[in-house]
């Protein structure tokens, strides 16, 4: 068998190797090239095509950001000359304010969510009580029904709340945060419960016997041990909050309260052609930290999901 079959372990191929590699005479160059292409070459071709597809928009926005003209029509692939005029134009808007707002909303949301989630996951992992199974299933169902399906009700609810508590109503970051906290429980609770389940119970039982209270066990034993999953869920909620557009666009009405998503959208939507360059500059500045964060995070993201899906 040829060693090139997809899925064949290289070690398995080793037994065949002597046949392939030592057998003279070597085939002519053209045949070897064809064979190389059939084994490996096409793979490089597919990969190259995929890379162009995947990376081109990112490259294009990079080029737009440094283009000497803000107009979409005048952009070339290599900016000539490289210019920072788009950044200057961008900074004339409330960009940094939007950036700050997004960081506040996503920061508080992610820390709050992970805390609410960890509390619930602890109960599901360590305690047995009536309604446990039903409520766990309900959480999964709710996850399928995203909060923003009720966007009209959320909007009217916030108008109502704002009538008595303006600090929490429409056009406030706090209002946005409490709405996101409403969606904190869900798949993340499952993710965390799964992790808590892997922590040996003997540990908390030992601690209990030593006289630790359940709160002490939770705060001083479980939480530190669960640090990796806490980090993952924090970062995930952070990214979800940054990426949300629908709730933010309905709730926030003042330029000074806008987040990146709403601010940049309204900015470019007013004049698509002419504000392309400054928008690209903003996209670059806003996207970079999130992208880096995400790339750092991705291996946990998939390994967690697949571990649950594939095993057994």
């Amino acid at each position: 068998m040829s060693a090139s079959t997809p899925g064949t372990r290289p070690t398995a191929a080793a037994t065949d190797d002597p046949v392939v590699w030592t057998a003279p005479p070597r085939p002519p160059l053209a045949r070897r090239a064809t064979r190389w292409f059939r084994d490996l070459g096409w793979r490089y071709l597919v990969i190259a095509a995929a890379l162009v597809f995947a990376l081109f928009p990112a490259v294009w926005v990079l080029s737009a950001a440094f283009s000497p003209s803000g107009s979409i029509a005048a952009q070339t692939l290599i900016p000539d000359p490289i210019s920072t005029i788009n950044f200057e134009q961008l900074f004339a808007t409330n960009f940094w304010r939007w950036f700050r707002n997004s960081m506040i909303v996503a920061g508080v949301t992610s820390i709050g969510s992970v805390f609410l989630c960890a509390l619930a996951a602890y109960a599901y992992s360590r305690l047995r009580f009536q309604g446990r199974r039903m409520s766990l299933l309900a959480l999964l169902l709710l996850q399928m029904l995203p909060q923003f399906l009720a966007i009209i009700a959320l909007f009217l609810l916030m108008i109502g709340i704002g009538r008595y508590f303006p600090e929490l109503g429409l056009n406030t970051l706090a209002g946005l945060i409490v709405i996101y906290l409403g969606g904190a429980l869900g798949l993340n609770t499952w993710l965390m419960k799964g992790f808590f389940d892997t922590l040996p119970r003997d540990l908390d039982e030992a601690a209990h016997i030593d006289g630790a209270s359940h709160a002490q066990v939770f705060f001083t034993l479980i939480l530190p041990l669960a640090a990796p999953i806490l980090a993952v869920v924090t970062l995930l909620s952070f990214i979800v909050a940054i990426n949300d557009f629908i709730v933010q666009s309905v709730l926030l009405t003042d330029d000074s309260q806008y987040t990146l998503a709403v601010g940049l959208y309204r900015f470019i939507d007013e004049d698509y052609g002419a504000r392309w360059g400054p928008f690209a500059a903003g996209a670059l500045l806003a996207g970079l930290p999130i992208t880096v964060l995400f790339l750092y995070l991705q291996r946990w993201l998939t390994s967690g999901l697949v571990a649950g899906a594939v095993k057994g």
């Binding site: 926005v61 399928m144 009720a150 409490v178 359940h214």
Partner: protein, 542 residues
């Protein structure tokens, strides 16, 4: 709380746990010593104190602003519930579940239920208030300067930032007017200098220059009087503006006293003049029963576009799921060869689309797909109307969503591929199976089993993929002849959003909520069916 009635576990460890749980419930367990531990107790009391303080502050505010009784009642009930849970020793699971659940109930469950209510009303632009609020608005809006309105000589006074006017009415009587009302000056403490009043009740007379500097604040000053208000018309003259429309709670009608017209409340939540020619704004929301549902299914100008949107939502979600999965498998198989150099680097590069914030990249694609200036047409040397032609726009959103979604599927398929046992392939080889048949009979079925939950989740996610559609096309191009804002690329969720929040759609919350409810039902049915595929459910009793 009682423990699950699970069959008694055979192992000794389990039974230890059960006895511990029981000990916990009865309060005999050593961990109840926590209540005796001083620092723990102090922290707990401080937190509970803060919660109660917040509860009291909220109730006070609601009472002060004349809030609805049920809001006050539920605030009190919630605060008491929290006290009961955290002061008791037996509600252990609730102590951990209630914080997240509280937010869940208020900001997710309640909005869902509320959406049902909205769907049975005519809630919308101009119908957003309840009837009392609408009456108040109409009455306040009817305040106007009458031809025979009294005029006052006015002199500006101020006490710090608080403004006041000394008002002299046509009869020569002198009042002090503040935002709280008017008071005869003779009832107040005054300071006179040279026969001029320089200070009344702590307010000092302003020089003309000083008053001029605060002219904006003075013109915004409203001094309420019976059924009207006084405002400045120039810096030295004020006029009384009077309310002209009055609500009569006995007859339930509204009367305009300048014209004598009587307005009667209609079933649609508006005051309409008796001859039916004139309608007052704003209206108020009324329950209209199933009217919105009837409209959605019978009114041709709504039903037609709605059904198109519904079908397209399924097509979009299916095409996106299938497309990303196919591309994901292709790439995973392609890269699944150890001889390829730099695999890690390629892998990292390929998940870039997944990592970039979607709200940005969707807008970037919109620029790249611009018909005249976009780089795609430029490079290809064509004039494809990517976002303007109905069919092309549908292709475009799927294509862009393919770009967003394939990296995730690629990662999932790569991981799943590596988990397929090697000996299966070896056995197949021995049996003489060819490459394609090994793929069809081993790789694909096993991949499908492993990724089924992910596929279901992807479908559900794309069913409601607001960002890609709204930011790329805005749902456009529009469907001809639609009575509501509806486009060829609209999903149910963007359609709901546009009906409710886009101008030109009449901001019809009632109809929007109706569409949202139908979406709930579709998604819920879908989830219920797909629950069978989701493996972690089997471990729920673990």
């Amino acid at each position: 709380m009682t423990v699950d009635q699970a069959p008694t576990p055979p192992t000794e460890r389990r039974s230890t746990r059960r006895s511990m749980d029981r000990a916990l419930r009865d309060g005999r367990h050593p961990l109840n010593r926590f209540a005796d531990s001083l620092s723990g107790l102090l922290i707990k009391l401080a937190l509970l104190g803060a919660v109660n303080g917040l509860g009291i502050a909220m109730v006070l505010r609601l009472v002060a602003l004349d809030g609805p009784w049920w809001a006050i009642a539920s605030t009190v009930a919630t605060t008491l519930l929290l006290d009961w849970i955290y002061l008791g020793k037996t509600k252990l699971p609730l102590k951990y579940l209630i914080p997240g659940t509280l937010f869940l109930v208020v900001f997710q469950l309640f909005p869902f239920v509320y959406t049902f209510f909205i769907a049975f009303t005519n809630y919308g632009l101009g119908q957003i208030l309840d009837q009392d609020q609408a009456i108040e608005r109409i009455e306040r809006g009817s305040i106007q300067a009458l031809p025979d309105a009294p005029r006052f000589d006015a002199v500006p006074f101020a006490d710090g930032d608080d403004l006041a006017l000394k008002l002299t009415d046509p009869d020569g009587e002198v009042f002090l007017g503040t935002p709280d009302g008017i008071t005869p000056v003779e009832d107040l403490d005054t300071v006179t200098d040279d026969d001029r009043l320089v200070e009344i009740d702590g307010y000092e007379r302003l020089s003309l220059g000083a008053a001029q500097d605060r002219i904006d604040a003075f013109t915004e000053l409203r001094i309420p009087v019976d059924e009207g208000e006084i405002e400045l018309t120039s810096l030295s003259v004020a006029t009384e503006r009077a309310q002209t429309r009055f609500y009569d709670p006995d007859t339930g009608t509204l009367t305009d006293e300048t014209t004598g017209t009587t307005y009667v409340p209609s079933e649609r939540g508006r005051f309409v003049s008796e001859d039916g020619t004139e309608t007052l704004s704003p209206g108020w929301r009324v329950v209209v029963g199933g009217e919105n549902f009837v409209r959605a299914f019978t009114n041709e100008a709504i039903r037609g576009p709605f059904l198109r949107v519904l079908v397209w939502t399924y097509v979009f979600a299916a095409a996106s799921t299938f497309g990303t999965f196919a591309l994901g498998i292709l790439l995973a198989l392609t890269m699944n060869d150890a001889r390829i150099k730099g695999r890690k680097l390629y892998r990292l590069a390929m998940i870039i689309p997944y990592a970039l914030p979607t709200f940005m990249t969707a807008l970037i694609w919109r620029g790249m797909m611009n018909r005249r200036f976009g780089v795609i047409n430029d490079v290809l040397g064509v004039q494809i109307p990517w976002l303007n032609d109905p069919t092309w726009a549908q292709i475009s959103v799927v294509l862009v969503n393919l770009w967003f979604g394939f990296p995730y599927m690629f990662l999932i398929c790569t991981a799943a591929l590596q988990s397929i046992p090697e000996d299966l392939y070896e056995a197949a080889s021995v049996d003489g199976a060819s490459g394609p048949s090994r793929f069809r009979r081993i790789t694909l079925p096993l991949l499908l089993v492993a990724t089924a939950p992910v596929l279901v989740a992807t479908f559900a996610f794309n069913f409601n993929n607001f960002n890609v559609v709204y930011l790329l096309t805005g749902g456009n191009p529009p469907i001809a002849g639609a009575a509501t804002p509806a486009g060829h690329t609209d999903l149910l969720i963007t359609y709901t959003y546009r009906i409710a929040f886009e101008s030109g759609g009449g901001q019809d919350f009632g109809l929007g909520a109706t569409i949202a409810i139908l979406t709930f039902v579709l998604v819920a049915v879908m989830s219920a069916i797909s629950f069978r595929f989701i493996r972690p459910l089997e471990e729920i009793n673990e």
